[in-house]
Structure formats: structure tokens, C-alpha cells
């Protein structure tokens, strides 16, 4: 009897054990736990991540169903995957563009949407909560929603956004039916929701943030506190001491201040504020300690943003030439926007054609139309103006007035927006965003600080782009740009009539008072009064030099009547100088010459400072290794070639030189480098300090800065000698004793990371030439991940006739298993191009789809 009971118990226990274990296993496989996804679903070979294999094949031709098309649309792909769409109406065209782009870039589009909407953690897990918090505070989605509200549904932009959205959703519906989601979704089980026009505007906002949102004033706050106001102003001045080559040399007009008609979508409405009771606070100067603490907090949080989310590096070259500067005498344009490199690329190359539109170039996945390219008569490219578009305000608060801030003579209640951040594998995170009249509060550490960012004012960029796309001359082009507000961009222009120019539309905030490069008082006196009127923004048309060049240098001269930013905002101008030099190198340049200039790796700063270094080394006691290194530099052409040992010596010398001169000051004044490496770390070559060194080395070798605080007197030559000794010793330790073997490529590489941040899905790092100041830009450190994201040359050979070429580092597909994932990288790396074909030029041998609403 006892045995029976015992056997029954054992059997029940066995059954229970089997059930519990199986239940646990199936729960984990079916639901997932914590960061572990539901592996049963994820690895199901038919519907899990494996289903993405279908998207890894080259597409086959045929008819595809896209609901809503009024007529068939033709899509073709050449051997490299470069696409063209021909449709019977603009509506069909943008619907097809949405479908085709989503077909190849849905993950990228969704990640951009998630980044801007503060929904990354829903896909990526707890690690993305900081990013989501920052973006929800900054309010990209709120701005996008406001922009959509202001877009008339029957306007060209409204119709384009709606049609594009429908096309994207046609693809999402396909995926829902077929379950062949891109691998990221198959693995995580978090699928993208339906696309909306607001999502497209969020993508626009993300690009605006990348180009326009700057934390430079926070760096100034830390410098002001540590280095002191005097040295900060002297070493990080508003206007550079070095010679510049502005594309708009003047004369300038002071046209006063233009009002900003649109309201900041992330600011409390001043008209709706009812003053609260209470006395005014005691007037006090801004507390630099608290401002520095606030700056530290914001910068620390900004470090959690995905790579490239904030503006960190100078972006882009674009130039145009005409007349005698161009072979054939018409106009020619080159453009290479520099961005955080990624796989897939920021760009999707496409040709769009309808009865009302014929445009070819680089589109931004998630947005209709083409951002950079050409139509039948005009071509254009962009560089970032890099004016100061971000203002920080130190708000006055008081424990006696909780939930309020003092503005325009009264205590005002903060407005609140509530969010819940969904987190994959974690608990949802509640978030309250406080809004002041200036914008969202981004920290309460040290000092309640809000940010007034021009990107938070809705900007009808798509309307401007659509107008550019149909413009036929400079007048139409310039007029179209009147509506472009953010991000401020240098639009470079060339047309088939031989005209060239640049216009830099956008908001250039002008404050009523105060030093806008520092956090400003939030009490009202330093509020934004308006912007530079459109007719007074930097611009140039058909200059006598027959060339216009923008490479993020200060676009105007010292006598420009408006404040637009400091030396920390703009590029030092070495790329612009080299490009201008290149454009004057020959009597008449062709597309190959422009292409060569885009791949040029001449460092103009090296060209100026190395001769001074060699002079400093004259007569100095050098050991054999130092002599060899010096001899290598003699006669060097300043080219940062991958195989160049001189490039290594120069770069290490420059970093050591910056350290020799400024590190003693940084140490003495306790400059908090670790709190703001992006602005203050010397190895990151702050543009203001680089220009200081240039200026002092060439013209002021006895500048007191060369003498360390409390140390013996020293001049530039002594500092250079010390830096040279350190550089060569460091190189010997890192690369061996023979200076001839110190190839730049052994120190410096390029990497193109995957947008998923998975190293194996990226490209490189591989040895590469270039540096932050070469036209072929390589920024972001010794493993450079920032540079030319698109290269284009358009030569106008006659009326409505262009020879256009382009390339970008990536491929049209985001699927790593696709042959079109990275097929363009080698061409880009070698400085080669592919024809940039219009829809009419796409070949008869192309792979073709017919998109139809039937079926």
C-alpha cells in the first residue's frame, strides 16, 4: 500500500515536474523574459527572423499590388539597385516612392521614427530609455505633430505626405500578411506600426536635430566657470582671428530683425499664461556654478544618444563653378554632405518622374521627394550653415513657487506633458516634460534649464523641397527657399544656363540682450526677438570669381551686421580653402577634377604649420629618430594619405602641440574635460583652439598662452619642439622605431557602423586617409565614422542636359544578406562614381516592377 502511494506520488510529481518544466520552457520561448526575446517565435524558420532571408534576394521583376494607385507606376532598378519611378501623377509617384523605400529601408525608417518619437526602448530595451527621455523632452514628435497640423491636406506637401504614407503602409500590410519581417523585428517580435504623415515629419526633425541642435553653449558654460570669462572670450572668440573665405563677402545690409511667425511647438504659449501671485525674485547675476552643473547634467545625458543624433562635427562640402572655371563654359556643381556614416546609408538614391516632376538624387528614407539632386534645369546640394540655432535659458525658480518660473515680471506656471515610455524587457517609465515659454526644461540639476531650439518651430521643408524640385531658374529656386526654416542650410545651386549661387535660408535667432553663446537669463530680457530677414541671410549669385564654395566655414565676413555663432560653431575653414585652391588649379575643370577634389586629403593646416615646425626644429638637438621624422616632413605635400608616415607625424604633433599649449591651463583652471569631452577634450581638436594655435604660430609666437601658468616663459617654437619630441616618442612606442613605417593608415581607419550598432553588420574599420579638415573628410576619431555620406557631381552640358554622377557608402538595401547592402562602398572608397540617371535615362535592361492597384 505504501509502495502504491509512493509510486502515485512519484508519478504525480513526475507529471507536475514535466508540466512545470515544459511550461516554463514554452513560456520563455513564446513570450521571452527580460531582455531575452521569445526565441520560439524569433527562430521559427518560417515566420521568425529567418523570414528576412526572402528580402535578401535580389528582387524579381513583375507586377506588385499597391492599393490606391490611380494608374500603373513603373519602377526600375539597375544592376546596383539604383531606382527610378515613373508615375502618371504626383500622388501615384509619392505613393510608389513610399512603397519602394519601405521595401528596402523599413527598419531604418522605423528606427528614425522611434528615435525622434522617444520609442526606441520599446524595441531596444532599457538601454534606450535615456535617449527616449531626451527626445521626449526636446519634443521632436510634438513639433512634427504641430507641423502636420499646419500643413493643408490639399497642399502639395500635404498630398505628398499622405500618398507617401499610403505607400509605406502598403508595404507594412504586405509584411503583416506574409510575416517576412526584417530580421530585427523577427528577432524581437516588436513590429513597426502603421506609418503616418507625422512619422515622416519626425524623420525630418531627426535630421534637423542632427544638423542643428548644438550643445556648444553648455561647453561655454563650463569654460566660463573654469577657465574664466576673460580667457574664454580670448580663446573661444565669436569672430575668428584667422583669415576666412566666406562665400558671401558682402557688402551687407542690416535689414533689422524679422519676426518668427510660427510658435515654438515645445514652448508654453505666452498668451495663455496667467501670472501667478508673489513678489519678484531678487535680481541676481547668472550663477555660473549652477549653470555649469546644469550643463554637465545635460551633456552627460546627451552622451546616451545614438551616434550622430546631435551635431558634433562639421558637415559637408558643396561648391559650384561656371564660365571660364568650367570646361565647356556652363555650370558644374559638386556636393558631398558629411554625416555620421551608417549601413544602410542616410540616403536612398532615386529618380522620380511624373507629368509635373522630374527629379533625381538622394532621398531621405521616411520622407517623400529628393533632398539633394537635380531636375531638368537646376541642380543643388546642401551644407550645414552651423549657425547657433540652440539657446539655453537658466530659469528663475523658487521653493516658494513650486511648479513655476519667473518670466516677464511674474511667476508663471510650468506646462506639463505626460508620457509613458514602453520598455522591452522592462517596466514602462513615466515621464513628465515641463514647458516654459522658451521651450522644454531639459534639466533641473544645478539650475532649471530650458532650451529654445529653432528646430522646435515647425518648418515647411517639404513644401520648399517640392518647389525646388520644379524650379527652372535661380529666381524660382531662391523663392522656394524662402519657406525653409530649419535646419539652416547652405543651398548650393547650378543651372543649365550657366548660373551658380548659394542661399542659406533658415532661422538665425537674435536675442534682445545677453551673450547667446552662454546660457541666458530666462526672465525675459534675453528672449529671442526674431531672426535675420531672408534678404539678409548669407547668399551669393554669379560672383566674379566664377566659383562658390561652402564647407561649413563662416559664410560671411567680420562686418556682417548680425550675430550667427562663434568659432566653436563653424568649421575653421581649411576645407573651404583647399577647395577654393583646387578650383583655381586649372583653367577649366571637368567632372573628374571635381571628383578628385571631393577625394582630396590635403590638410591646409598642416600645409601652414609644418613649415613653422621645421623652422622650430632648425638647430634643435634631435636624436636620430627625430631627425628622420623631421626629414620626412621636409617637402611633404600635406596629403593625409593612408600610406603617408608624414601624416602620422603631423597629426600626432598637432595633438601634442595642443596639449603642450593648453593642457597646463586646463589643469591649472580645472577645466572639466571629462564632463564635456566633445567640447573640451584637446585630442578632439576644438575648432577655436586650433585656430588660436594657427594664428599664434604664424603671427604671434610670443603669445602668453605658450607660457604655462606659473611656469617659465616659453614661446611657440619651444612648445613645438616639445610637442615634436612627444609625438615621435609616442609613434615609436605605438608603431615601432622606424619613422618611414609610420603609415597614417596604421593609426587612422574608417568604419561604417550598422544602424543596429552591431559591429559585424558594419563595414571596417579599415586603414584610410583623410582627417577632420580634409575635403575628403574623416571625422569622429582615429576610427572615423563620419564623412562624405553622398558624393555627387552635376555638369550642365546644355539646356536641360546634364552629365550627373553620384555614389554613396552603402547600398540600397538595409538587409545585410542582400547583395545591395554594401555594394557601393568600394566605389565610394576609391573615389569613383556611378551615373546618376534620370528616370528617362534608366536602361531598358533594368529590372522592372509594375505597381498596380489591381490584384
Amino acid at each position: 500500500m505504501g509502495c502504491t502511494v509512493s509510486a502515485k506520488i512519484r508519478r504525480i510529481a513526475g507529471r507536475l515536474g514535466a508540466l512545470v518544466l515544459a511550461g516554463l520552457l514554452m513560456f520563455v520561448l513564446g513570450v521571452g523574459t527580460g531582455p531575452i526575446p521569445a526565441l520560439g517565435r524569433a527562430l521559427d524558420p518560417a515566420r521568425g527572423a529567418w523570414a528576412s532571408a526572402d528580402g535578401g534576394r535580389l528582387p524579381a521583376g513583375g507586377r506588385l499590388h499597391v492599393p490606391g494607385l490611380t494608374q500603373q507606376a513603373q519602377v526600375s532598378f539597375d544592376n546596383e539597385g539604383l531606382a527610378s519611378i515613373t508615375a502618371a501623377s504626383d500622388d501615384d509617384l509619392f505613393r510608389a516612392q513610399g512603397y519602394v523605400t519601405a521595401r528596402f529601408r523599413l527598419t531604418q525608417m522605423d528606427l528614425l521614427r522611434r528615435l525622434g518619437s522617444g520609442r526606441l526602448a520599446e524595441l531596444s530595451g532599457p538601454a534606450a530609455v535615456e535617449s527616449d527621455t531626451f527626445e521626449l523632452q526636446l519634443g521632436l514628435r510634438r513639433t512634427a505633430e504641430a507641423a502636420w497640423t499646419q500643413t493643408p491636406a490639399d497642399s502639395p506637401a500635404g498630398k505628398a505626405l499622405s500618398a507617401y504614407t499610403a505607400g509605406v503602409n502598403a508595404r507594412i500590410a504586405e509584411l503583416e500578411d506574409g510575416h517576412d519581417w526584417p530580421a530585427l523585428y523577427g528577432l524581437t517580435g516588436v513590429h513597426p506600426g502603421r506609418w503616418t504623415p507625422v512619422d515622416s515629419l519626425v524623420v525630418q526633425e531627426v535630421l534637423t536635430q542632427q544638423l542643428d541642435f548644438s550643445t556648444v553653449p553648455l561647453g561655454y558654460a563650463l569654460l566660463d566657470r573654469s577657465l574664466g570669462p576673460e580667457l574664454t572670450k580670448a580663446w573661444f572668440p565669436v569672430l575668428p582671428a584667422t583669415p576666412q573665405q566666406p562665400y558671401d563677402p558682402g557688402p551687407y545690409q542690416d535689414l533689422g530683425t524679422a519676426p518668427i511667425p510660427e510658435r515654438n511647438a515645445n514652448a508654453a504659449d505666452p498668451a495663455a499664461l496667467r501670472p501667478g501671485p508673489g513678489p519678484a525674485p531678487t535680481a541676481q547675476p547668472l550663477d555660473t556654478a549652477h549653470a555649469a552643473a546644469a550643463a554637465t547634467a545635460v551633456l552627460a545625458r546627451a552622451d546616451h544618444l545614438p551616434a550622430g543624433a546631435l551635431h558634433l562635427h562639421p558637415d559637408s562640402n558643396a561648391w559650384a563653378a561656371n564660365g571660364p572655371a568650367v570646361a565647356g563654359g556652363r555650370a558644374m556643381l559638386a556636393g558631398d554632405p558629411h554625416l555620421q556614416l551608417s549601413l544602410p546609408s542616410d540616403w536612398f538614391e532615386i529618380a522620380l518622374r511624373s507629368p509635373g516632376l522630374d527629379v533625381t538624387g538622394a532621398s531621405l528614407p521616411g520622407m517623400p521627394a529628393v533632398l539633394i539632386g537635380h531636375n531638368e534645369h537646376i541642380s543643388w546640394s546642401l551644407t550645414d550653415v552651423q549657425n547657433q540655432s540652440t539657446l539655453f535659458y537658466s530659469e528663475t525658480t523658487s521653493p516658494e513657487h513650486p511648479g513655476a518660473y519667473y518670466w516677464n515680471g511674474a511667476w508663471r506656471p510650468l506646462e506639463h506633458v505626460e508620457y509613458t515610455i514602453p520598455v522591452r524587457g522592462g517596466d514602462p517609465v513615466p515621464l513628465t516634460v515641463d514647458l516654459t515659454v522658451h521651450g522644454p526644461v531639459i534639466t533641473r540639476d544645478g539650475q532649471t534649464t530650458s532650451v529654445d531650439w529653432m528646430g522646435n518651430i515647425p518648418s515647411p521643408d517639404l513644401a520648399a523641397l517640392l518647389s525646388i524640385s520644379t524650379a527652372g531658374d535661380y529666381g524660382g529656386f531662391r523663392e522656394a527657399l524662402r519657406g525653409w526654416k530649419a535646419p539652416t542650410q547652405n543651398f548650393v545651386y547650378a543651372d543649365d544656363q550657366g548660373n551658380i549661387g548659394i542661399v542659406a535660408p533658415g532661422y538665425y535667432p537674435l536675442v534682445k540682450s545677453g551673450e547667446p553663446w552662454l546660457p541666458l537669463s530666462g526672465e525675459g530680457a534675453a528672449d529671442v526677438a526674431g531672426t535675420i530677414p531672408f534678404d539678409a541671410v548669407p547668399q551669393v549669385y554669379n560672383p566674379p570669381s566664377h566659383a562658390v564654395v561652402t564647407a561649413n566655414q563662416r559664410p560671411v565676413g567680420a562686418d556682417y551686421p548680425y550675430y550667427i555663432g562663434t568659432t566653436q560653431d563653424f568649421d575653421p575653414g581649411y576645407r573651404a580653402t583647399q577647395i577654393n585652391t583646387g578650383l583655381r588649379a586649372g583653367p577649366a575643370l571637368g567632372p573628374d577634377d571635381f571628383g578628385a577634389l571631393q577625394s582630396d586629403v590635403t590638410d591646409r593646416l598642416a600645409a601652414q604649420l609644418v613649415p613653422e615646425l621645421l623652422k622650430a626644429l632648425d638647430g634643435a638637438p634631435l636624436d636620430e629618430r627625430q631627425r628622420t621624422a623631421r626629414d620626412l616632413l621636409t617637402g611633404w605635400n600635406a596629403a593625409m594619405d593612408e600610406k603617408s608616415p608624414q601624416a602620422s607625424i603631423w597629426w600626432r604633433f598637432l595633438i601634442a602641440y595642443l596639449g603642450e599649449v593648453f593642457q597646463p591651463w586646463w589643469t591649472d583652471r580645472k577645466v572639466p574635460v571629462d564632463l564635456a569631452r566633445r567640447h573640451l577634450a584637446l585630442e578632439r581638436t576644438p575648432p577655436a583652439l586650433v585656430q588660436d594655435l594657427e594664428q599664434w604660430t604664424l603671427h604671434d609666437q610670443g603669445n602668453p598662452a605658450f607660457t604655462p601658468p606659473g611656469g617659465p616663459a616659453r614661446d611657440a617654437r619651444a612648445a613645438m619642439r616639445d610637442a615634436f619630441a612627444k609625438a615621435t616618442a609616442g609613434l615609436a612606442a605605438d608603431l615601432g622605431p622606424d619613422p618611414a613605417s609610420w603609415n597614417w593608415g596604421r593609426l587612422h581607419r574608417r568604419v561604417i557602423p550598422s544602424i543596429t550598432q552591431v559591429p559585424a553588420l558594419g563595414h571596417g574599420p579599415l586603414p584610410a586617409g583623410g582627417d577632420p579638415w580634409t575635403a575628403n573628410n574623416a571625422d569622429g576619431g582615429m576610427d572615423s565614422d563620419f564623412g562624405p555620406s553622398w558624393r555627387m557631381v552635376v555638369r550642365w552640358t546644355g539646356p536641360a542636359t546634364a552629365d550627373a554622377r553620384a555614389v554613396y557608402p552603402g547600398g540600397q538595401s538595409e538587409n545585410p544578406a542582400s547583395p545591395w547592402y554594401r555594394n557601393l562602398i568600394d566605389l565610394w572608397w576609391r573615389g569613383e562614381y556611378l551615373p546618376l540617371r534620370t528616370a528617362a535615362e534608366h536602361g531598358s535592361d533594368d529590372l522592372k516592377w509594375t505597381l498596380t492597384s489591381e490584384g
Binding site: 513526475g14 514535466a18 518544466l21 520552457l25 526565441l39 527562430l43 529567418w50 530580421a183 538587409n815 544578406a817
Partner: protein, 150 residues
């Protein structure tokens, strides 16, 4: 009696050969229709069937492993035969999962998930099987103590 025992023994030997392909096909079909848990269901059936037929444990486990692994290998092979880049996709999956970017790892992990399901199913299937009453002519698969206590 001897022939019955021989037949039973032949079944036990041949059972995996019959059960495994059928089970694998079932799992593959289940996967195609979105039933990611088909390996578990197939495991339950396998556990029950092999238990009823008193298949020895190694044979049962072997069947379960075969059913799970082959059941999910078939759709992968199908994809490869259809020209889909299964190897490159496997590398992508491994990389996204935080593993070394190896196709073999992703395939192994996939088949392991299927096998774990079938084994778990098999354990459940066998655990809930009514205990067979041993006959006098057949050796019991369970200890004789349960016979005497009935």
C-alpha cells in the same frame, strides 16, 4: 507468443524510422502555418506514441531530437533551395542576437530551440501516459513492484 514479441521488438526498432519523418513533416508544416510551438506538440505526440508502444528511452529521445531538428531544418532547406541567402541571413541573426556572426551558430541555436521543444513535449507526453499493465508474457518496462501492488 514469440512472434508477437518479435513483432513488438521490430516496432520498437523501426518506430523511430516511422515516427521521426512523420513528426518532422508535421513540425515543418506547423512552422509554415505559423505554429512555432509545433515541435512541442509533435513532442507530446511522440512521447505518447513511443510510451504506448513502450519504446526504450534512447529511441524515444532520438526520435524527439530528429523530429525537432529535421522539422525546422526542412523550412530552412526549402528557403535555401528557393534561392534565399540563408547563410547570410544566419550570420545576420547571430550578429543581431549578440553572438559571433557565424551562420552555424544561428542554425544550431534554431535547431536547438526546436529540439528543446520536442524533448519537453516528449516528457509531458510520456508523463501523462497511463501506466501500462504488464502482461505475464512481456517483460515490464516498470519495476515489478508496481505489478505486485496492483
Amino acid at each position: 507468443m514469440r512472434s508477437q514479441r518479435m513483432a513488438s521488438g521490430r516496432f520498437r526498432n523501426a518506430a523511430p524510422l516511422l515516427i521521426a519523418p512523420a513528426g518532422a513533416l508535421l513540425v515543418a508544416l506547423g512552422s509554415a502555418t505559423g505554429l512555432w510551438y509545433a515541435p512541442f506538440a509533435a513532442g507530446v505526440l511522440t512521447g505518447a506514441a513511443t510510451g504506448l508502444r513502450r519504446m526504450r528511452l534512447p529511441g524515444t529521445l532520438g526520435s524527439a531530437v530528429l523530429i525537432g531538428a529535421a522539422g525546422w531544418a526542412i523550412p530552412l532547406a526549402w528557403r535555401a533551395l528557393a534561392g534565399q541567402p540563408v547563410g547570410a541571413t544566419a550570420e545576420t541573426i547571430a550578429a543581431l542576437a549578440g553572438l559571433p556572426s557565424s551562420a552555424a551558430l544561428a542554425v544550431a541555436a534554431t535547431l536547438l530551440v526546436a529540439v528543446l521543444q520536442t524533448l519537453a513535449g516528449c516528457a509531458v507526453g510520456r508523463a501523462f501516459l497511463p501506466r501500462p499493465r504488464p502482461t505475464a508474457t512481456e517483460p515490464a518496462l516498470v519495476p515489478p513492484v508496481s505489478v505486485t501492488s496492483v
